[in-house]
Amino acid sequence: MKIALNKLQSWEGFLLCALIFITLLNVYLSPQFLSFSNWINLFQLSIEKVIVALVMTFVIINAEIDLSVGSMMGLSACAFGWMVQGGVPGGLVIITCLIIGVVGGAINGWFITKAGLPSLVVTLATLIGFRGLARVLVEDRGINEFPEWFDALGQQGLIGPIPFAIIAFFILFTALYIVLQRSGFGRKTYLIGTNREVADYAGINTAGHKMILFIASGLVSAFAGLLYAARVGAVRGDVALGFELDIITIVLLGGVSIFGGSGTLFGTLLAILIVLSLRNGMALINITGHVQTGVIGLLLIGSVIAPRIHLTSFWRRLKGEHL
């Protein structure tokens, strides 16, 4: 009973209630809402962002941030277009793009762990740098002559009506969920995010851990950039411009603390579902995109304030001075 109550008190509990409420509202407004094809559509439209949000969850729990993910998505997509246009075989191009992600992530990681710079600054710099590279590659052209199998992968169902990207998302979610919530690596992610020095003094290789996370972030961003190219069937220099903000918003909305150390992948998943169904619901009642963004902004402020309210005043009142 007490555990159930605690669960409900948590931010995840609140998100779950919000999700149920929004879903009911959506169903009331449009019976189509719960249909399978609607959900595939919903997911499909933001799939690249939500995939990157999974890794971003790790990065932020680790008390770091990666602002360069959107630019890396753009760079990977543009590199793909540029190489395909240059006649390089598709398979080789994909591998090269993923390697670009790894190298880009390693550059971030090197400056953060070896040079000791704050990730906010380093990834702000690479946000500009990666974007610049992307624009150099494609200049101001749009490239849209992709191999047929590539377009098909992005635009058609792989298993029945479910496209490759959504399958990839759920496989990645399951794998990362196990890693974060059940493995030693996940435990270290939380520990380093809670207090890096405690981890250092306990003999944990914190620099190496952060390096792995930034490389993973670069790799998954590059992968997501390819998914974007496949889904849209064209790339330009401004692919995925500004995506990092939507991605970080989802993660914070999911209850991950910007100061690191707390949050779960389950929270991130709930936040994804809420943002998707909220946008869908608001579109159904003819609320414009800009207002939708405003509402999500308000929700984000709520997500930062809410845990503080019940943690500081409510919790302390219950527990007295022991906190």
Partner: protein, 500 residues
Amino acid sequence: MPQPILRLNSISKYFGMTKALSDMSITFNSGEVHAIVGENGAGKSTIIKIMTGIHQPTSGTIELDGKASIMTGPQAAREAGIVAIYQEPMVFPDLDVAENIFISDNSDGLLMRPSEQRKRASALIKRIGIKLDPSRIASGLTLAEQQAVEIARALSQDVRVLIMDEPTASLSAHEAGQLRKIAQNLAGQGVAVVYISHRLEEIFEISDRVTVIRDGSHISTKPIAEVTSDGMITEMVGRGFSKYFEKATSTTRDEVILEVRNLTLEGVFENISFDLHRGEVLCMAGLVGARRTDVALALFGIMPPTSGVVKFKGQTAKFTTPRAAIEAGIAYVSEDRRKLGLAMPMAIKSNVSIVTLDDFLSPLGLLKSEKERKAARHFIDSLNIRTPDVETPVGMLSGGNQQKVMLAKWLNLNPDLFIFDEPTRGIDIGAKAEVHDLIRSVAAKGGAALLISSDLPEVLAMGDRILVMREGHQMSILKHSEATQESIMLHATGQRQETI
């Protein structure tokens, strides 16, 4: 002539169903140092919080100058002249001393002329009775000096009741002496000083009256002349505690486990040389700034030394990371629980398994949660950690119990060499005795212990030999039989040095 300033009248305080204080009545007089002693969790901090308006009493009244008054909040308490200073002083590191003293003073509007401010600051500092340049930047001050700044700040606000909560816990013996002198000076000027400390010897040194509390209840208030150390401890814990200051028999064996020769970290410490045997407890004594912790960090691979030789278990050891030291079998129990020792928001079980996480993983790298919980439960039983369960965040525990969790995480490792850095600072006497027992049992099982401590009775009770350091130099190694508080202090303050 002492006049009552502040009186607590049968104060009770409940947090939900939990009783923190019951029927507590104490009177604080001007010109008096009034010590409050009790184990952790006895209710000392609740009393402070009620006096300073952070908590409101559930029942009972507070009388100021004979008139019932309600401390609606910290601001109201400060205006009434009630100020508390804590173990960790609150100063702004980038401001100078004078600016720190007058930080919340806006009598001259927003801007006070720096020269004027410094003049007033020196006057206050003089009143405290120490030497301190008002233009020094706070980040360069020692802890004791920072506390002096806080006291001066309190004086600038016309303090009438000054509450000092464990003010000397982080100070060296010399600095602690200075601070006690300040407290007595202020009492001499008519301030009511409320002094809370775990160091019984300093309570005898400075206080006029002592109040003992236990489990939220008032046990006794007596003039210091009518109190004995044993009597006070018995009242605090509700039972006798005779073995605290007793030296246990040595378990030192012949085998040398750690050989340190001319260990030097340039600009920090130099030429440290000693042997440590299996079964031995070697204490490192010295004042703050003696660089004892730095020697420990050099041995533990955090700050690799610039020269010198370390042999551990017969092999030359050059650890450049804590990981390497840990794998060789060295544990370092940090002096700073909060910053370096424990992940406060995380569960007890997660903290206990930190150092030896690999032992709790399946071949695929997944956590064996049942094994982890079992290990935590084992230590909760064997170390007598008071907690609802293994999932409780460490930050919710009392200081002594937190300290035990920190010890547990290193005990998991089963190390050959244990470096304890101020392991009993700020914990109550019951937990202290348990930590001492634990250190002895580590030694008795054939491990070696290097114990850094600023608590001289502890050094004398625990150390088979005592290495005294001063400002990065090794002053002497005393055998237990030839060590006294006086002889240690003579070496630690540089008034005597042995040729090594």
